[in-house]
Amino acid sequence: MNIDVGAIFQIAGIGIIIAMIHTVLKQMGKEDMAHWVTVIGFVVVLFMVVRLLNDLFQEIKTIFLFQ
């Protein structure tokens, strides 16, 4: 089972970039835009995490005989 370490860096990168965009938009005076950007970035990362969580649960179900 190889782990995709790159995904962790991806998540961290998305977080930092979203923080930058948030700051820039706030400086431009578009507070609501900044919040939407944060929410969208969060949802994107959440999808990655949830997909991996689904893999984990399927694996557990098959190994520990939950049928």
Partner: protein, 129 residues
């Protein structure tokens, strides 16, 4: 060396979490969760081998398969409950974490009840009437 890989993964994830937490705490939480899931996914491949050995032993020694299935389910519930509770505890929700642990305990007890009743019946049969 897989152990070194695990430690390196943990250290890198910790540094990333520390960096990101300054800006966005939500992303730090997601990194933590992702790392936990990744390590668990790695470990579950190893656990699978151990469990196959256990199944083999149980088949050879002629133990009823129901017992083995129950034990495996209990182990699975324990792992999942521990995992979920730790993640929720990391996010700062102690009370929800303790509820998850409570749910794990209750579900394990429900699974164990058939075995307990079989034990009690056996003991009652052993007793002189």
């Amino acid at each position: 060396m897989e152990m070194i890989q695990m430690v390196g993964l943990g250290l890198i994830a910790t540094v990333l979490v520390l960096i990101v937490r300054e800006q966005k705490p939500m992303f730090a939480f997601l990194i933590t969760t992702f790392t936990g899931i990744a390590i668990f996914l790695f470990l579950i491949g190893k656990i699978e081998a151990v469990i196959q050995v256990l199944e083999d032993l149980a088949l050879r020694s002629g133990i009823q398969l129901v017992y083995l299935k129950t034990i495996l389910k209990i182990i699975g519930i324990a792992y999942i409950a521990e995992f979920g509770a730790q993640i929720v505890k990391d996010a700062g929700q102690e009370s929800i974490a303790s509820k998850i642990e409570l749910a794990g305990k209750v579900l394990i007890m429900v699974l164990a009840i058939p075995i307990i009743s079989i034990i009690i019946e056996t003991v009652i049969q052993l007793l002189p009437a």
